[in-house]
Subunit: 139 residues, 2 copies
Amino acid sequence: MPGMAIGKLAVIAATKVQTIRYYEEIGLIRPFARSEGGHRQYGPEDARRLKFIRHARELGFGIEEIRELLQLSDNPDTSCSAADIIARSHLEQVELRLKKLQALRKELKRMVEECGHGRVSHCRVIEVLSDHKHCGSEH
Amino acid sequence: MPGMAIGKLAVIAATKVQTIRYYEEIGLIRPFARSEGGHRQYGPEDARRLKFIRHARELGFGIEEIRELLQLSDNPDTSCSAADIIARSHLEQVELRLKKLQALRKELKRMVEECGHGRVSHCRVIEVLSDHKHCGSEH
DNA sequence: TCTTGAAGCTCTAGTGGCTGGAGATTGTAT
DNA sequence: ATACAATCTCCAGCCACTAGAGCTTCAAGA
């Protein structure tokens, strides 16, 4: 098994090369070997791990959360409740963000709709931004 | 008009003191005067401007967008269409984020619901993160 | 007026999660 | 053998703040 170079791993896991090196730096992954000249060599297990990380990042998990999840994934005999707790608290955060974003969209829509394309002195966009009271909903 | 100190402005605009100094550093605001001892002094116009900035930040506008909006707000005779364009493109971004977040919530909910509270080796949370294919929706 | 303690000052560094570039070295295809 | 792509390390920068050290100034009470 000769292992693949960092560039190929990057393509496979849809990551940038620098990002992989960064993950190594902060201790999330490490290549299973180096070539004589010092080039990193990765195997399929590294690819799986990197995909795990990228997927979790896409889902909005922070690096430290991912570190915990990786540890759990590395030790399949531990209780699953830790992973559950992480995912649950993450879900709560997501639902909060979602609510804020929905209120924001409403506000922006109103702003844009009410802009009469005239002078700034009568522009609702500027007006709404100038005074919180113009807001229909809290945020 | 003696002007208020930075601490009071911070309270009024619901900002941290350091944030105000940071905004000054990057050229968004400046105090209308300094005391003999070098303390910043602000007036009501500064408060209005800072509130404008904070409100726009809450709505998710970036600093450079805000810089543009401030310029428009400072020149009430210019066309409102520039502000409109900024707000519109911002709205688009928000709607995109919203869609992603909704897909994410769905995914997380499923993960949490399917976790049987057993061992990690059978935990759906880990499993879903390990393999993108388990996702019901793209994100 | 003096004193004290809160609030201000500047400057530096750190956060998270990468991203980009310089300049040197290595790997690979012809 | 050579050309050129890919990789290496190291360092700096991004955004929008936030925190702290170590000092000075201000305002209120005695």
